[in-house]
Amino acid sequence: MGCGLGKSKQQMQKCDKVNLSVPASIAIRAAVLIQRWYRRYVARLEIRRRCTWNIFQSIEYAGQQDQIKLYNFFVFLMQHFTPASSERNLISHIFHDDPRHGAQLETFHCYESIEVSNSYTGPRLTFPLTFCGVSKLVETFKHRQKLHARYVLQLLGETAKLLRILANINHVSTSYTKEITICGDLHGHLEDLLLIFYKNGLPSGEKPYVFNGDFVDRGKNSLEILLILFGFLLVYPHDVHLNRGNHEDHIVNLRYGFTKEVLGKYRVHGKKILKLLKKIFCWLPLATVIDHKVLVVHGGISDATDLDTIARVDRHKYVSALRPPSRTKIKNRSDVTADGPVTRRRRVCSLTHDRCVPPQRYELQCRSLQNLPTSSWTEEEEMRRRGVTGAEPRWSYSDLDPDVHDWKQIVDMLWSDPMPQNGCIHNEVRGGGCYWGPDVTEEVLGRHGLQLLIRSHECKQDGYEFCHNRRVLTIFSASNYYEVGSNRGAYIKLGPDLVPHVVQYQASQTCRELSLRQSVGWTERSALQALREQLFVHTSHLIAAFQEFDPNHTGMVSLRDWASATESVLKLGLPWRVLRPQLVSSTCSGMVDYQQWIRELTITKPNLEISDTSILETMYKNHSNLETIFRIIDTDHSGSISLEEFRQTWKLLCSHIQTEISDDAIDDLAKCIDFNKDGSIDINEFMEAFRLVDLSTGPKVTE
């Protein structure tokens, strides 16, 4: 390179500008080197960002699948144990709805008995709620203050009364040249909601909003978000529209943090609040249609989606979208145990996986929630996961009981995801709903005379994403969802022309934009920590897998073998070789000392002296399930369970994961975990013990 001797005048002038005392040619060469080096650096950051993203998503979806499996297990128990069985008693209450309407009215007025002391400095709401009241509420939460339980219950009671008279599908119009704002998942990120209100204005008669579900779980301010949204709903019932998401579900909340949040913030009245919320969630509308042309729904659609059916269902019957309607009990099973369903299931078993479905028979009608074996996500399987190599066809809905048919429509609306290929297949990744293709979009939109589908449910790096020839738009409003800097949030403005305009943002605690390096760095650190935890809980399987590649017991395996072994155990479909430098600190001439590496994945163990350490590993591996079961068993939401209940929990878990653990080992464990020896176990204390700390790098980097 270089300019050569005959420099043009222009170049001479350029050199003067920069005031170089070296020949321009050399300066230009230097500049080029720097540019190239910098671009390469940015490209490598981009790869890291993508990897990090994949890590978070695969762990997240694996967790959801886990949740649904656990739930299916409860369903199974309910149907196969005799009424006298103690395990059944532990969990039966989550399947019971309150049958009497009278009881509901009681619940709505339970706030009356709660007194507010003079020392309370928060807002004292009056009802009917006014704009002043709800603005005060926003201000209160902005300043991190709490609303008194009395007003929480009163507000929720009023909300429940209003929701009951709303239709399943909100119909909205953009007449009077009104623009409608549509927001996606918020997941307890109050900062993002406040940012949206700041940028876009508060909801009002002039500023209608649609909130598309998943207001709660994961973030720390789920309750505040709900109260604000319900507050605006009460003040502007014709201009604020809420759609139910898959997280507006008390069963899901047990696992993903909302239940814990409420009980933590309202120790005395939390239980009442949760009971009321359970009712409220099932009364939330299921979808919104704008100008008869745009459908807004949380998850998506399936090839069987029919809005007339959805409009007719008794939506409040589906307290948890995971639970099939109560009519489909054992006696109905005989209707569906004809050749069709059973044969199909067996075929799936042999087509795709070595591990077969366990011998117990799970409820068959709910096809989308069948306990299909987990996919092992090798490259080939990933294709199949997305239905590329033609997985089994969907069942015909007309084969099923009408109640079940309705229920499946609802599950599909709340849990489905779009896929690039044509067709409609079971959503194995999440465990519920389906994957639907562009052909299904065209068919369903066409059949209903619609032109656009707006949905949420999936986190997107830019906060939004078009697909299916721009006929489907995903909108996600929780920025920094996985970690600070992981993604932006966005909302949609829709005017009478029905052309969506997307507005993006990113909530930032330090009020400063992060550079690419910083945002990738933070997110990556967090993802890698999550990944290390996953690796840790599979320690013994990993060692076994490595030893298969190391028959001579040298203690070393090649990098390639390291990657294969790790993937075969974890089944997350991640590019292990690309991640290797971040996970394995040193290698010698292309070999990994795996024993050393496993030791490096150290954690602080809780102060438990347990003779059987494999039980500890099982505990770590299943701690989310364990926590969910705990919270279900803790019926009075006191935060602690008795030793006996703990033993029963453990046995339940063991039968779910099909592991044998002796009664002695369980007793041992129970005694150790009762830290203060008072005969009961504090759930939060116990779960704290599961925070893993990587000793090799010091204390965990928290946000």
Partner: protein
């Protein structure tokens, strides 16, 4: 496959490892999981594999791959070409000290740093110019609070370990 140009001292297992590396990098951008990536991501992929091509090199590389102007590149075409590039070290990276020399050349007063204004002039007007976005990002990432870029420090901070 690139077997014909294979050097004698590269074993089959090395080739296999290279293939795996290339595939992993490729698949990070294969959003539809059908072994194709958008052609605009090719640059990122090449860089991430440790190569240091010029803009011209990249254009030639892409021209070779994208003959049907669909805007996407399939793994089957990319794999052999990229593997070949890696085996022949076609676009070798520059060692740190050469990079430091490049900075020193531009730092005429040997201050040990370059001002943001100087960087902007150089990067956006000379050589393979930066876009506005690239420039903003670089300054945000590398300049300190006095808007200076202490080049020796940043090179140490931001060096990646080489893949074997």
């Amino acid at each position: 496959m690139a077997e014909g140009i294979q050097r004698a001292d590269i074993s089959a297992s090395d080739v296999h490892s290279l293939h795996k590396r290339v595939k992993d990098a490729f698949q990070a951008f294969d959003y539809e999981m059908n072994n194709t990536v958008d052609v605009r991501e090719i640059t990122t992929i090449i860089y991430s594999l440790g190569c240091f091509p010029s803009q011209k090199d990249i254009h030639e590389f892409i021209a070779e791959l994208e003959e049907d102007h669909t805007g996407s590149v399939h793994l089957d075409k990319f794999l052999p070409v990229m593997t070949n590039v890696l085996m022949e070290h076609k676009f070798p990276s520059i060692p740190e000290d050469v990079l430091i020399q490049a900075f020193e050349v531009l730092d005429k007063d040997s201050k040990g740093y370059l001002d943001s204004e100087e960087m902007v002039e150089l990067m956006t007007k000379e050589g393979e110019s930066f876009t506005q976005d690239e420039m903003t990002e670089m300054l945000m990432a590398l300049a300190d609070h006095e808007r200076r870029i202490y080049y020796k420090d940043i090179i140490c901070q931001l060096t990646f370990d080489q893949e074997i």
